[in-house]
Amino acid sequence: MDNQNLIPTKASVMDDLQEVRAMIRRHKRKDILFALVGLLALMFALLTLLTLFIDLVMDGYPRFNTEFLSEFPSRRAAHAGLLSAWVGSLLVMLVTFLTAVPMGVAAGLYLEEYAPKNWFSDLIEINVANLAGVPSIVYGLLALGLFVYGLDFGQSILTAGLTLGLLILPIIIVSTREAIRAIPTAIREAAYAVGATKWQVVKDHVLKYSQGGILTGVIIGMARALGETAPIITIGALTFIAFLPPSPIGTEAPFVNFEWLSSGFTVLPIQMFNWLSRPDHAFHINAAATGAIIILVTLLMNGTAIWLRYKIRKNIKW
Protein backbone atom coordinates (compact mmCIF):
# COMPACT_ATOMS: atom_id res chain seq x y z
CA MET A 1 0.00 0.00 0.00
CA ASP A 2 2.35 2.66 1.23
CA ASN A 3 5.31 1.58 -0.83
CA GLN A 4 6.57 5.05 -1.27
CA ASN A 5 7.51 5.28 2.38
CA LEU A 6 9.36 1.96 2.50
CA ILE A 7 11.55 2.53 -0.54
CA PRO A 8 13.84 5.38 0.37
CA THR A 9 14.37 8.09 -2.13
CA LYS A 10 17.85 9.12 -3.15
CA ALA A 11 17.50 12.42 -1.32
CA SER A 12 16.63 10.81 2.03
CA VAL A 13 19.58 8.39 1.77
CA MET A 14 21.88 11.31 1.23
CA ASP A 15 20.37 13.05 4.23
CA ASP A 16 20.91 9.99 6.42
CA LEU A 17 24.46 9.66 5.21
CA GLN A 18 25.15 13.28 6.02
CA GLU A 19 23.76 12.75 9.47
CA VAL A 20 25.84 9.64 10.13
CA ARG A 21 28.97 11.37 8.90
CA ALA A 22 28.27 14.32 11.14
CA MET A 23 27.85 11.97 14.08
CA ILE A 24 31.13 10.19 13.35
CA ARG A 25 32.87 13.54 13.06
CA ARG A 26 31.38 14.59 16.38
CA HIS A 27 32.56 11.41 18.08
CA LYS A 28 36.01 11.67 16.55
CA ARG A 29 36.24 15.23 17.83
CA LYS A 30 35.50 13.95 21.32
CA ASP A 31 38.30 11.43 20.86
CA ILE A 32 40.84 14.09 20.02
CA LEU A 33 39.53 16.39 22.73
CA PHE A 34 39.92 13.70 25.39
CA ALA A 35 43.37 12.74 24.18
CA LEU A 36 44.34 16.39 24.58
CA VAL A 37 42.82 16.65 28.05
CA GLY A 38 44.55 13.42 29.09
CA LEU A 39 47.88 14.58 27.79
CA LEU A 40 47.40 17.90 29.59
CA ALA A 41 46.54 16.19 32.89
CA LEU A 42 49.59 13.98 32.64
CA MET A 43 51.87 16.81 31.58
CA PHE A 44 50.49 19.11 34.27
CA ALA A 45 51.33 16.58 36.97
CA LEU A 46 54.77 15.82 35.56
CA LEU A 47 55.66 19.41 34.80
CA THR A 48 54.48 20.71 38.17
CA LEU A 49 56.72 18.20 39.85
CA LEU A 50 59.60 19.15 37.56
CA THR A 51 59.04 22.85 38.33
CA LEU A 52 59.02 22.14 42.02
CA PHE A 53 62.26 20.21 41.76
CA ILE A 54 63.97 22.96 39.78
CA ASP A 55 62.72 25.49 42.35
CA LEU A 56 64.31 23.38 45.09
CA VAL A 57 67.66 23.21 43.33
CA MET A 58 67.66 26.94 42.57
CA ASP A 59 66.72 27.89 46.14
CA GLY A 60 69.34 25.62 47.61
CA TYR A 61 72.03 26.47 45.09
CA PRO A 62 74.10 28.78 47.38
CA ARG A 63 74.69 25.88 49.76
CA PHE A 64 75.95 23.34 47.26
CA ASN A 65 79.55 23.15 48.48
CA THR A 66 81.71 20.80 50.47
CA GLU A 67 81.37 22.75 53.75
CA PHE A 68 77.66 22.00 53.71
CA LEU A 69 78.51 18.31 53.97
CA SER A 70 81.37 18.68 56.45
CA GLU A 71 79.89 21.09 59.03
CA PHE A 72 77.65 20.43 62.00
CA PRO A 73 74.29 22.20 62.33
CA SER A 74 74.70 25.70 63.71
CA ARG A 75 72.71 28.67 64.94
CA ARG A 76 74.05 30.65 62.00
CA ALA A 77 72.38 29.44 58.83
CA ALA A 78 75.32 30.12 56.55
CA HIS A 79 77.61 27.91 58.62
CA ALA A 80 75.16 25.13 59.35
CA GLY A 81 75.91 21.83 57.65
CA LEU A 82 74.72 18.31 57.23
CA LEU A 83 77.58 16.28 58.66
CA SER A 84 75.73 14.72 61.59
CA ALA A 85 72.63 14.23 59.43
CA TRP A 86 74.18 12.26 56.61
CA VAL A 87 76.31 10.17 58.95
CA GLY A 88 73.15 9.50 61.00
CA SER A 89 71.17 8.54 57.89
CA LEU A 90 73.94 6.15 56.84
CA LEU A 91 74.09 4.41 60.23
CA VAL A 92 70.30 4.18 60.59
CA MET A 93 70.05 2.71 57.09
CA LEU A 94 72.73 0.17 58.01
CA VAL A 95 70.60 -1.10 60.92
CA THR A 96 67.50 -1.06 58.71
CA PHE A 97 69.28 -3.04 56.02
CA LEU A 98 70.63 -5.64 58.46
CA THR A 99 67.21 -6.27 60.00
CA ALA A 100 64.73 -5.85 57.16
CA VAL A 101 66.57 -7.69 54.38
CA PRO A 102 67.18 -11.05 56.10
CA MET A 103 63.73 -11.01 57.70
CA GLY A 104 61.92 -9.92 54.56
CA VAL A 105 63.67 -12.40 52.28
CA ALA A 106 63.16 -15.24 54.78
CA ALA A 107 59.47 -14.39 55.13
CA GLY A 108 59.06 -14.21 51.35
CA LEU A 109 60.80 -17.57 50.93
CA TYR A 110 58.58 -19.14 53.56
CA LEU A 111 55.36 -17.83 52.05
CA GLU A 112 56.24 -18.92 48.50
CA GLU A 113 58.16 -22.18 49.02
CA TYR A 114 57.19 -23.64 52.38
CA ALA A 115 53.86 -22.33 53.61
CA PRO A 116 51.06 -24.91 53.50
CA LYS A 117 47.73 -23.76 52.08
CA ASN A 118 45.73 -23.13 55.23
CA TRP A 119 44.18 -20.36 57.32
CA PHE A 120 47.47 -19.72 59.02
CA SER A 121 49.27 -18.82 55.79
CA ASP A 122 46.28 -16.75 54.75
CA LEU A 123 46.54 -14.86 58.02
CA ILE A 124 50.18 -14.02 57.34
CA GLU A 125 49.39 -12.93 53.80
CA ILE A 126 46.52 -10.65 54.82
CA ASN A 127 48.79 -9.19 57.46
CA VAL A 128 51.55 -8.35 55.03
CA ALA A 129 49.06 -6.67 52.69
CA ASN A 130 47.56 -4.66 55.54
CA LEU A 131 50.92 -3.60 56.94
CA ALA A 132 51.82 -2.03 53.61
CA GLY A 133 48.82 0.29 54.03
CA VAL A 134 49.44 1.38 57.62
CA PRO A 135 50.35 5.11 57.76
CA SER A 136 54.04 5.51 58.49
CA ILE A 137 53.45 7.65 61.55
CA VAL A 138 51.72 4.70 63.23
CA TYR A 139 55.02 2.79 62.99
CA GLY A 140 56.49 5.72 64.88
CA LEU A 141 53.92 5.27 67.66
CA LEU A 142 54.68 1.55 67.76
CA ALA A 143 58.37 2.29 68.09
CA LEU A 144 57.77 4.93 70.76
CA GLY A 145 55.78 2.50 72.89
CA LEU A 146 57.75 -0.67 72.16
CA PHE A 147 61.38 0.20 71.41
CA VAL A 148 61.86 3.52 73.24
CA TYR A 149 60.03 2.72 76.48
CA GLY A 150 59.03 -0.97 76.38
CA LEU A 151 62.48 -2.37 75.52
CA ASP A 152 64.31 0.73 76.78
CA PHE A 153 66.39 1.26 73.64
CA GLY A 154 65.92 5.01 74.04
CA GLN A 155 65.83 7.52 71.18
CA SER A 156 68.77 5.84 69.50
CA ILE A 157 70.06 4.77 66.11
CA LEU A 158 69.02 1.23 66.98
CA THR A 159 65.40 2.28 67.58
CA ALA A 160 65.23 4.30 64.37
CA GLY A 161 66.82 1.52 62.31
CA LEU A 162 64.46 -1.12 63.67
CA THR A 163 61.43 1.13 63.11
CA LEU A 164 62.31 1.75 59.47
CA GLY A 165 63.13 -1.95 59.15
CA LEU A 166 59.58 -2.88 60.15
CA LEU A 167 58.26 -0.15 57.84
CA ILE A 168 59.95 -1.50 54.72
CA LEU A 169 59.48 -5.18 55.60
CA PRO A 170 56.27 -5.52 53.52
CA ILE A 171 58.01 -3.98 50.48
CA ILE A 172 60.82 -6.54 50.67
CA ILE A 173 58.47 -9.47 51.34
CA VAL A 174 56.27 -8.58 48.36
CA SER A 175 59.17 -8.11 45.93
CA THR A 176 60.83 -11.33 47.12
CA ARG A 177 57.61 -13.23 46.50
CA GLU A 178 57.17 -11.73 43.05
CA ALA A 179 60.75 -12.62 42.11
CA ILE A 180 60.32 -16.19 43.35
CA ARG A 181 56.99 -16.63 41.60
CA ALA A 182 58.62 -15.81 38.27
CA ILE A 183 60.81 -18.93 38.49
CA PRO A 184 59.25 -21.83 36.56
CA THR A 185 58.46 -25.00 38.52
CA ALA A 186 60.50 -26.98 35.99
CA ILE A 187 63.70 -25.56 37.53
CA ARG A 188 62.74 -26.88 40.97
CA GLU A 189 61.63 -30.23 39.57
CA ALA A 190 64.91 -30.64 37.71
CA ALA A 191 66.83 -30.04 40.93
CA TYR A 192 64.68 -32.47 42.88
CA ALA A 193 65.14 -35.03 40.09
CA VAL A 194 68.90 -35.09 40.60
CA GLY A 195 68.42 -35.61 44.33
CA ALA A 196 68.58 -32.12 45.84
CA THR A 197 66.92 -31.56 49.21
CA LYS A 198 64.32 -28.84 49.63
CA TRP A 199 66.81 -26.47 51.25
CA GLN A 200 69.34 -27.11 48.49
CA VAL A 201 66.72 -26.28 45.90
CA VAL A 202 65.80 -23.09 47.71
CA LYS A 203 69.36 -22.00 48.43
CA ASP A 204 71.05 -22.94 45.12
CA HIS A 205 68.24 -22.32 42.66
CA VAL A 206 65.29 -20.31 43.97
CA LEU A 207 67.39 -17.73 45.81
CA LYS A 208 69.97 -17.57 43.05
CA TYR A 209 67.54 -16.88 40.25
CA SER A 210 65.44 -14.43 42.25
CA GLN A 211 68.28 -12.32 43.62
CA GLY A 212 67.94 -9.64 40.94
CA GLY A 213 64.25 -9.14 41.73
CA ILE A 214 64.94 -9.17 45.46
CA LEU A 215 67.66 -6.57 45.02
CA THR A 216 65.16 -4.33 43.22
CA GLY A 217 62.81 -4.50 46.19
CA VAL A 218 65.64 -3.90 48.65
CA ILE A 219 66.76 -0.74 46.84
CA ILE A 220 63.20 0.63 46.66
CA GLY A 221 62.71 -0.15 50.34
CA MET A 222 65.97 1.52 51.36
CA ALA A 223 65.10 4.61 49.32
CA ARG A 224 61.80 4.76 51.18
CA ALA A 225 63.62 4.42 54.51
CA LEU A 226 65.99 7.25 53.61
CA GLY A 227 63.14 9.68 52.97
CA GLU A 228 60.82 8.69 55.83
CA THR A 229 60.48 11.50 58.34
CA ALA A 230 57.31 11.03 60.38
CA PRO A 231 58.14 7.81 62.28
CA ILE A 232 61.58 9.10 63.26
CA ILE A 233 60.19 12.37 64.57
CA THR A 234 57.59 10.40 66.53
CA ILE A 235 60.18 8.39 68.42
CA GLY A 236 61.48 11.78 69.58
CA ALA A 237 64.70 12.09 67.62
CA LEU A 238 66.59 15.22 68.59
CA THR A 239 66.91 17.83 65.92
CA PHE A 240 70.02 19.66 67.04
CA ILE A 241 72.89 17.18 67.03
CA ALA A 242 76.37 18.68 66.91
CA PHE A 243 78.34 15.49 67.43
CA LEU A 244 78.96 12.24 65.62
CA PRO A 245 78.03 8.84 67.01
CA PRO A 246 81.06 6.76 68.08
CA SER A 247 82.69 5.10 65.10
CA PRO A 248 81.51 1.54 64.40
CA ILE A 249 85.07 0.55 63.56
CA GLY A 250 87.43 0.66 66.54
CA THR A 251 91.22 1.04 66.49
CA GLU A 252 91.80 -1.85 68.91
CA ALA A 253 90.72 -5.48 68.76
CA PRO A 254 88.00 -6.64 68.06
CA PHE A 255 87.81 -3.57 65.79
CA VAL A 256 84.05 -3.25 65.99
CA ASN A 257 82.06 -1.62 68.73
CA PHE A 258 78.36 -1.24 69.18
CA GLU A 259 78.23 1.97 71.21
CA TRP A 260 76.98 3.82 68.14
CA LEU A 261 73.77 1.85 68.26
CA SER A 262 72.62 3.59 71.44
CA SER A 263 73.82 7.04 70.40
CA GLY A 264 71.55 9.99 69.74
CA PHE A 265 71.32 10.97 66.10
CA THR A 266 69.67 13.04 63.42
CA VAL A 267 68.92 12.11 59.81
CA LEU A 268 68.66 14.10 56.58
CA PRO A 269 64.86 14.52 56.38
CA ILE A 270 64.66 15.50 60.07
CA GLN A 271 67.37 18.09 59.61
CA MET A 272 65.41 19.43 56.64
CA PHE A 273 62.19 19.57 58.66
CA ASN A 274 64.02 21.35 61.45
CA TRP A 275 65.37 24.04 59.13
CA LEU A 276 62.08 24.31 57.31
CA SER A 277 60.10 24.98 60.49
CA ARG A 278 62.25 27.98 61.43
CA PRO A 279 60.85 31.40 60.52
CA ASP A 280 64.26 32.74 59.40
CA HIS A 281 64.45 32.52 55.61
CA ALA A 282 68.22 31.88 55.64
CA PHE A 283 67.50 28.43 57.06
CA HIS A 284 64.99 27.73 54.30
CA ILE A 285 67.91 27.84 51.84
CA ASN A 286 69.58 25.08 53.84
CA ALA A 287 66.32 23.13 53.81
CA ALA A 288 66.10 23.47 50.02
CA ALA A 289 69.67 22.24 49.55
CA THR A 290 68.99 19.27 51.86
CA GLY A 291 65.78 18.51 49.98
CA ALA A 292 67.62 18.56 46.66
CA ILE A 293 70.18 16.10 48.03
CA ILE A 294 67.47 13.78 49.41
CA ILE A 295 65.55 13.86 46.11
CA LEU A 296 68.69 13.24 44.10
CA VAL A 297 69.72 10.22 46.16
CA THR A 298 66.23 8.66 46.28
CA LEU A 299 65.72 9.25 42.54
CA LEU A 300 69.07 7.63 41.83
CA MET A 301 68.22 4.63 44.01
CA ASN A 302 64.71 4.17 42.60
CA GLY A 303 65.99 4.75 39.08
CA THR A 304 68.58 2.03 39.55
CA ALA A 305 65.90 -0.34 40.83
CA ILE A 306 63.55 0.32 37.91
CA TRP A 307 66.38 -0.02 35.40
CA LEU A 308 67.46 -3.25 37.06
CA ARG A 309 63.95 -4.67 36.85
CA TYR A 310 63.74 -3.72 33.20
CA LYS A 311 67.07 -5.46 32.51
CA ILE A 312 65.98 -8.61 34.35
CA ARG A 313 62.70 -8.77 32.47
CA LYS A 314 64.50 -8.41 29.17
CA ASN A 315 67.25 -10.94 29.85
CA ILE A 316 65.28 -13.78 31.35
CA LYS A 317 64.89 -16.69 29.00
CA TRP A 318 63.98 -19.83 30.86
Binding site: H27, K30, D31, F34, A35, G38, L39, A41, L42, A45, T48, L49, L52, D59, P102, M103, A107, L109, Y110, L111, Y114, A115, L123, I124, N127, V128, N130, G133, V134, P135, S136, I137, V138, G140, L141, L142, G145, G150, L169, I173, A223, L226, G227, T229, A230, I233, T234, T239, P269, M272, F273, S277, H284, A288, G291, T298, L299, N302, G303, I306
Partner: protein
Protein backbone atom coordinates in the same frame (compact mmCIF):
# COMPACT_ATOMS: atom_id res chain seq x y z
CA UNK B 1 64.53 -26.59 61.26
CA UNK B 2 65.14 -24.16 58.40
CA UNK B 3 61.45 -24.10 57.71
CA UNK B 4 60.85 -23.12 61.32
CA UNK B 5 63.30 -20.20 61.17
CA UNK B 6 61.75 -18.98 57.93
CA UNK B 7 58.30 -19.26 59.49
CA UNK B 8 59.42 -17.13 62.42
CA UNK B 9 60.48 -14.43 59.96
CA UNK B 10 57.08 -14.58 58.27
CA UNK B 11 55.39 -14.42 61.66
CA UNK B 12 57.15 -11.13 62.35
CA UNK B 13 54.58 -9.52 60.04
CA UNK B 14 51.75 -10.82 62.21
CA UNK B 15 53.63 -9.83 65.34
CA UNK B 16 54.05 -6.28 64.02
CA UNK B 17 50.33 -5.93 63.41
CA UNK B 18 49.52 -7.25 66.86
CA UNK B 19 52.13 -5.01 68.46
CA UNK B 20 50.69 -1.95 66.71
CA UNK B 21 47.15 -2.72 67.81
CA UNK B 22 48.25 -3.71 71.34
CA UNK B 23 50.32 -0.58 71.94
CA UNK B 24 47.69 1.76 70.53
CA UNK B 25 44.96 0.11 72.61
CA UNK B 26 47.05 -0.11 75.78
CA UNK B 27 48.06 3.55 75.87
CA UNK B 28 44.63 4.67 74.68
CA UNK B 29 42.97 2.71 77.51
CA UNK B 30 44.96 4.70 80.06
CA UNK B 31 43.95 7.81 78.15
CA UNK B 32 40.27 6.92 78.26
CA UNK B 33 40.49 6.35 82.03
CA UNK B 34 40.94 10.11 82.36
CA UNK B 35 38.87 11.19 79.38
CA UNK B 36 35.37 9.91 78.71
CA UNK B 37 34.51 8.68 75.21
CA UNK B 38 31.68 11.17 75.17
CA UNK B 39 34.05 14.08 75.68
CA UNK B 40 36.49 12.61 73.12
CA UNK B 41 33.91 12.62 70.37
CA UNK B 42 31.80 15.65 71.26
CA UNK B 43 34.06 18.28 72.80
CA UNK B 44 34.87 21.03 70.34
CA UNK B 45 38.40 21.77 71.55
CA UNK B 46 41.62 19.75 71.56
CA UNK B 47 44.09 21.21 74.03
CA UNK B 48 45.60 18.23 75.90
CA UNK B 49 48.82 20.09 76.70
CA UNK B 50 47.22 23.19 78.19
CA UNK B 51 46.48 23.99 81.80
CA UNK B 52 42.79 24.09 80.89
CA UNK B 53 42.76 20.82 78.97
CA UNK B 54 40.03 19.79 76.55
CA UNK B 55 40.03 16.45 74.79
CA UNK B 56 37.74 16.67 71.78
CA UNK B 57 39.25 14.89 68.75
CA UNK B 58 36.86 16.54 66.28
CA UNK B 59 39.06 19.56 65.42
CA UNK B 60 41.85 17.18 64.39
CA UNK B 61 39.44 15.00 62.43
CA UNK B 62 38.06 18.08 60.67
CA UNK B 63 41.58 19.15 59.68
CA UNK B 64 42.40 15.67 58.43
CA UNK B 65 39.18 15.40 56.42
CA UNK B 66 39.53 18.87 54.91
CA UNK B 67 43.11 18.43 53.72
CA UNK B 68 42.33 14.93 52.44
CA UNK B 69 39.23 16.15 50.59
CA UNK B 70 41.21 18.89 48.84
CA UNK B 71 43.93 16.40 47.95
CA UNK B 72 41.41 13.95 46.49
CA UNK B 73 39.58 16.69 44.61
CA UNK B 74 42.89 17.37 42.84
CA UNK B 75 44.21 13.83 42.55
CA UNK B 76 41.16 11.75 41.59
CA UNK B 77 40.12 13.57 38.39
CA UNK B 78 43.68 14.20 37.24
CA UNK B 79 44.89 10.72 38.13
CA UNK B 80 41.94 9.02 36.46
CA UNK B 81 42.14 11.06 33.25
CA UNK B 82 45.90 10.48 33.11
CA UNK B 83 45.38 6.73 33.64
CA UNK B 84 42.74 6.51 30.87
CA UNK B 85 45.01 8.48 28.57
CA UNK B 86 48.00 6.29 29.31
CA UNK B 87 46.11 3.05 28.99
CA UNK B 88 43.84 3.76 26.01
CA UNK B 89 45.25 6.69 24.03
CA UNK B 90 49.00 6.88 24.48
CA UNK B 91 51.33 5.08 22.11
CA UNK B 92 53.36 2.13 23.36
CA UNK B 93 56.48 4.28 23.39
CA UNK B 94 54.91 7.06 25.48
CA UNK B 95 53.57 4.55 27.97
CA UNK B 96 56.91 2.79 28.34
CA UNK B 97 58.52 6.15 29.00
CA UNK B 98 55.95 7.64 31.37
CA UNK B 99 55.32 4.59 33.57
CA UNK B 100 58.84 4.48 35.08
CA UNK B 101 58.70 8.26 35.62
CA UNK B 102 55.44 7.81 37.55
CA UNK B 103 57.08 5.13 39.67
CA UNK B 104 60.01 7.45 40.34
CA UNK B 105 57.66 10.22 41.43
CA UNK B 106 55.83 7.91 43.83
CA UNK B 107 59.17 7.46 45.60
CA UNK B 108 59.86 11.16 46.26
CA UNK B 109 60.02 11.72 50.05
CA UNK B 110 57.03 13.63 51.41
CA UNK B 111 59.06 16.14 53.44
CA UNK B 112 60.15 17.63 50.11
CA UNK B 113 56.52 18.19 49.19
CA UNK B 114 56.12 20.00 52.51
CA UNK B 115 58.76 22.45 51.33
CA UNK B 116 56.83 22.99 48.07
CA UNK B 117 53.57 23.54 49.89
CA UNK B 118 55.00 26.08 52.31
CA UNK B 119 57.43 28.03 50.13
CA UNK B 120 56.17 27.59 46.56
CA UNK B 121 52.45 26.89 46.36
CA UNK B 122 51.28 29.00 49.31
CA UNK B 123 53.04 32.20 48.10
CA UNK B 124 51.52 31.51 44.67
CA UNK B 125 48.05 31.11 46.17
CA UNK B 126 48.53 34.28 48.22
CA UNK B 127 48.79 36.21 44.97
CA UNK B 128 45.25 35.04 44.14
CA UNK B 129 43.84 35.17 47.68
CA UNK B 130 45.77 37.95 49.47
CA UNK B 131 44.12 37.19 52.82
CA UNK B 132 45.40 33.60 52.88
CA UNK B 133 47.54 32.92 55.97
CA UNK B 134 51.08 31.52 55.59
CA UNK B 135 49.96 28.21 57.03
CA UNK B 136 46.77 26.96 55.40
CA UNK B 137 45.01 23.75 54.50
CA UNK B 138 44.44 24.74 50.88
CA UNK B 139 48.12 24.77 49.86
CA UNK B 140 48.89 21.64 51.83
CA UNK B 141 45.89 19.83 50.32
CA UNK B 142 46.73 20.83 46.74
CA UNK B 143 50.34 19.70 47.07
CA UNK B 144 49.22 16.44 48.67
CA UNK B 145 46.89 15.99 45.68
CA UNK B 146 49.66 16.57 43.13
CA UNK B 147 51.79 14.16 45.13
CA UNK B 148 49.11 11.45 44.86
CA UNK B 149 48.37 11.88 41.11
CA UNK B 150 51.22 9.59 39.93
CA UNK B 151 50.08 7.02 42.46
CA UNK B 152 46.47 6.89 41.22
CA UNK B 153 47.55 7.10 37.58
CA UNK B 154 49.94 4.19 37.99
CA UNK B 155 47.60 1.85 39.91
CA UNK B 156 44.50 2.67 37.84
CA UNK B 157 46.45 2.23 34.60
CA UNK B 158 47.50 -1.24 35.72
CA UNK B 159 43.85 -2.10 36.33
CA UNK B 160 42.82 -0.86 32.86
CA UNK B 161 45.65 -2.68 31.13
CA UNK B 162 44.39 -5.88 32.75
CA UNK B 163 41.05 -5.61 30.92
CA UNK B 164 41.17 -8.26 28.19
CA UNK B 165 41.91 -6.98 24.68
CA UNK B 166 38.94 -8.77 23.11
CA UNK B 167 36.55 -6.49 25.00
CA UNK B 168 38.09 -3.46 23.32
CA UNK B 169 38.07 -5.24 19.99
CA UNK B 170 34.40 -6.08 20.41
CA UNK B 171 33.65 -2.45 21.11
CA UNK B 172 35.67 -1.20 18.12
CA UNK B 173 33.94 -3.76 15.91
CA UNK B 174 30.61 -2.19 16.82
CA UNK B 175 31.96 1.08 15.52
CA UNK B 176 32.74 2.72 18.85
CA UNK B 177 35.47 5.33 19.01
CA UNK B 178 38.42 5.19 21.38
CA UNK B 179 36.74 7.60 23.78
CA UNK B 180 33.50 5.60 23.83
CA UNK B 181 35.43 2.36 24.35
CA UNK B 182 37.49 3.88 27.14
CA UNK B 183 34.54 5.36 29.02
CA UNK B 184 31.80 2.79 28.39
CA UNK B 185 33.76 -0.48 28.20
CA UNK B 186 37.23 -0.33 29.74
CA UNK B 187 36.47 1.90 32.74
CA UNK B 188 33.45 -0.10 33.96
CA UNK B 189 35.38 -3.33 33.47
CA UNK B 190 38.33 -2.04 35.50
CA UNK B 191 36.24 -0.21 38.12
CA UNK B 192 37.24 -2.56 40.90
CA UNK B 193 40.93 -1.81 40.39
CA UNK B 194 40.25 1.90 39.92
CA UNK B 195 38.34 2.08 43.21
CA UNK B 196 41.23 0.23 44.85
CA UNK B 197 43.51 3.01 43.60
CA UNK B 198 41.18 5.63 45.12
CA UNK B 199 41.11 3.81 48.44
CA UNK B 200 44.90 3.64 48.54
CA UNK B 201 44.93 7.36 47.73
CA UNK B 202 42.53 8.13 50.60
CA UNK B 203 44.64 6.11 53.02
CA UNK B 204 47.71 7.98 51.90
CA UNK B 205 46.02 11.37 52.21
CA UNK B 206 44.61 10.65 55.67
CA UNK B 207 47.90 9.25 56.95
CA UNK B 208 50.13 11.81 55.26
CA UNK B 209 52.16 13.64 57.86
CA UNK B 210 55.00 15.83 56.71
CA UNK B 211 53.17 18.01 54.17
CA UNK B 212 50.50 19.03 56.68
CA UNK B 213 52.96 19.28 59.58
CA UNK B 214 55.03 21.76 57.59
CA UNK B 215 52.40 23.72 55.71
CA UNK B 216 48.94 23.45 57.30
CA UNK B 217 49.76 24.95 60.69
CA UNK B 218 49.73 23.27 64.09
CA UNK B 219 46.79 24.90 65.83
CA UNK B 220 43.80 22.56 66.29
CA UNK B 221 40.90 24.38 64.70
CA UNK B 222 37.37 23.06 64.26
CA UNK B 223 36.76 24.24 60.72
CA UNK B 224 36.25 22.89 57.23
CA UNK B 225 37.36 26.15 55.64
CA UNK B 226 40.45 25.39 53.53
CA UNK B 227 41.61 29.02 53.76
CA UNK B 228 42.33 28.64 57.47
CA UNK B 229 45.19 26.92 59.21
CA UNK B 230 44.47 23.80 61.23
CA UNK B 231 46.21 20.77 62.72
CA UNK B 232 45.49 17.26 61.51
CA UNK B 233 45.73 14.06 63.53
CA UNK B 234 49.16 13.34 62.11
CA UNK B 235 50.56 16.84 62.54
CA UNK B 236 49.39 16.84 66.16
CA UNK B 237 51.36 13.64 66.80
CA UNK B 238 54.45 15.21 65.23
CA UNK B 239 54.04 18.40 67.23
CA UNK B 240 53.79 16.54 70.54
CA UNK B 241 56.64 14.18 69.70
CA UNK B 242 58.93 17.15 68.97
CA UNK B 243 58.49 18.48 72.48
CA UNK B 244 59.87 16.57 75.42
CA UNK B 245 56.87 14.87 76.93
CA UNK B 246 57.23 12.68 80.02
CA UNK B 247 56.41 9.01 79.49
CA UNK B 248 53.01 8.12 80.95
CA UNK B 249 51.62 11.67 81.08
CA UNK B 250 48.21 12.40 79.62
CA UNK B 251 49.82 14.31 76.75
CA UNK B 252 51.92 11.25 75.92
CA UNK B 253 48.85 9.04 76.00
CA UNK B 254 46.89 11.49 73.86
CA UNK B 255 49.08 10.87 70.79
CA UNK B 256 48.27 7.15 71.01
CA UNK B 257 44.56 7.93 71.23
CA UNK B 258 45.02 10.15 68.16
CA UNK B 259 46.91 7.33 66.44
CA UNK B 260 44.09 4.93 67.22
CA UNK B 261 41.61 7.38 65.70
CA UNK B 262 43.81 7.56 62.58
CA UNK B 263 43.90 3.76 62.27
CA UNK B 264 40.12 3.62 62.76
CA UNK B 265 39.62 6.16 59.96
CA UNK B 266 41.88 4.32 57.50
CA UNK B 267 40.15 1.06 58.40
CA UNK B 268 36.74 2.68 57.85
CA UNK B 269 37.69 3.92 54.36
CA UNK B 270 39.19 0.55 53.50
CA UNK B 271 36.02 -1.28 54.47
CA UNK B 272 33.89 1.10 52.42
CA UNK B 273 36.21 0.57 49.49
CA UNK B 274 35.96 -3.17 49.93
CA UNK B 275 32.14 -3.01 49.86
CA UNK B 276 32.12 -0.81 46.76
CA UNK B 277 34.53 -3.12 44.99
CA UNK B 278 32.47 -6.16 45.84
CA UNK B 279 29.32 -4.51 44.56
CA UNK B 280 30.71 -3.40 41.23
CA UNK B 281 33.21 -6.14 40.55
CA UNK B 282 32.86 -7.63 37.09
CA UNK B 283 34.20 -11.06 36.31
CA UNK B 284 35.41 -12.23 32.94
Amino acid sequence: MIEFILMLAALSAVATTFAIVAILLYESLSFFKTVSLLEFFTAKEWTPLFEDAHYGIMPLVAGTLTTSAIALAVAVPMGTVAAIYLSEFASYKTREMVKPILELLVGVPTIVFGYFALLFVTPLLQKVFPELPGFNMLGAGIVMGIMIVPYIASVAEDAMRAVPMHMREGSYAMGATRFQTAIRVVTPAAISGIVAAYILAISRAVGETMVVAVAAGQQPNLTFNPMESAATITSFIVQVAMGDLPHGSIGYQSIFAAGLMLMAMTLFFNIIGHIIRKKYREQY
